[in-house]
Symmetry: C2
Amino acid sequence: MDNEIKFKDTNVALIGVGLMGGSILKALKSQESRPKSITAFDINNDILAKIERKGLADIATDDAKTALKDADLVVIALYPKLAIEFVKNNANSFKKGCVITDICGVKREIEEGIPSVLPEGVIFVGGHPMAGREHKGFNYSTPDLFLGCKYIITGGEKNAVKLVSEFADIIGANKIVFSSSDKHDEMIAYTSQLPHVLSVAYMLCADARNVEDFSAGSFRDITRVAMINDEMWSELFLENKDKLLEEIRSLKDGLEEIENLIEQEKRDKLRSEMRRAADMREGIMG
Amino acid sequence: MDNEIKFKDTNVALIGVGLMGGSILKALKSQESRPKSITAFDINNDILAKIERKGLADIATDDAKTALKDADLVVIALYPKLAIEFVKNNANSFKKGCVITDICGVKREIEEGIPSVLPEGVIFVGGHPMAGREHKGFNYSTPDLFLGCKYIITGGEKNAVKLVSEFADIIGANKIVFSSSDKHDEMIAYTSQLPHVLSVAYMLCADARNVEDFSAGSFRDITRVAMINDEMWSELFLENKDKLLEEIRSLKDGLEEIENLIEQEKRDKLRSEMRRAADMREGIMG
């Protein structure tokens, strides 16, 4: 990609219209800064019909060739393995010089998988908007899903990165974070995957007890992400297995430390650890 | 307490005006249904001055005798050990026939401690409004802290329980839950103390890493209660040590189970455990 291209001059193809893809379409519709055209691709014809009815795309199609023919920016909003497969299976249909980006929550898998099947003259930029919801599917998509989120970009050719950054900005991201895929996967294992593991493990500890009568804010917060999309998260967990296992083990050690402090009634040390945690949280979230 | 007494006919003494006590005063002020009088007791004269300035009580005093002299309902909003000590040290100042209630987050300690120092003719009803905030102190108190909360009552004499239930209702609770102190402490260990332990342990795993750039909703939720009041929670943890340790161990086992499923790539079982957790959460919170 030798020349800089502006988002408003691109034909955009959005591949996959679930929670994330649907929210991208709705975010773009709510913006003044529209691209030249938007084509939405999905294999679910009910969703395509909804997209047409709501005027969320210029073209809604289940034919990949049609979707990719004129696309300057291809946003793939599929789970990681499907994203790689899509690029591989449609290698011949991409327009020469187009930019492909993804939205996957693991990046090493993608950075290894997509470039290896990328046709010549097509540029890839890995991306990850850090936003989500407890529910999945187009019906839960919302134009403000990405409002204020961080958008991680794992690098690529300069002008292509600029274009993806502009796209991120337009759908609502408030900060672009550049990161290696390795660093991304380590940090995400801690900041996002571990809370999901934790929330599931915690929820299952309820057993058959009637916890409802004894639940308040902390219970609600800790269990929110136990409303998990098992198909997606199980894939992400396994694709980031090494990093995630390290984080789970470190958390188990941390729990054991607190367990020991309580067991031995070391109240001063317990309090100083609590203060350290509170200070860290305050430093991060204000 | 042979006769039923209505909240509107009582002189109320509130003992301790921190986050909880302050929120009780503000909740009562915002209600049409006021008691005959409200006296606030605290040892902090700055707070007493604020209470007077805001008209939150008829009398604001640092003298326990004055506070208790005419009180029909004494609401003790102190940490557990201090609550027991307060009753013990002021045993002779309570009005005969008055009802004492507390708001402590552990109930076995209280149910053993207070009755043993209770003067004759004074009735105790254990209570626990399940509400709180990440911040402590009067300055963070708010009239809607108890809005919609569950209010646990661990039993007592019938008319006294009625009076405390009416008080709970007036400050905003939407459900009175009756429970033994043993059951309360077991359930609270799981629904409230464990999330706090968990949140602190999780937060400390961040180490020196820059997590801010990689944090989104799940991180925010899981770390909220790491903003912990170390003085109060360390006391509560130690007072409920046996029950809490059991919950921590059960959570560690649960984490280990998920760790093993990921390590052995047992995706089907991983997914079914996730679905089970999601179903449980949905069953509880809708």
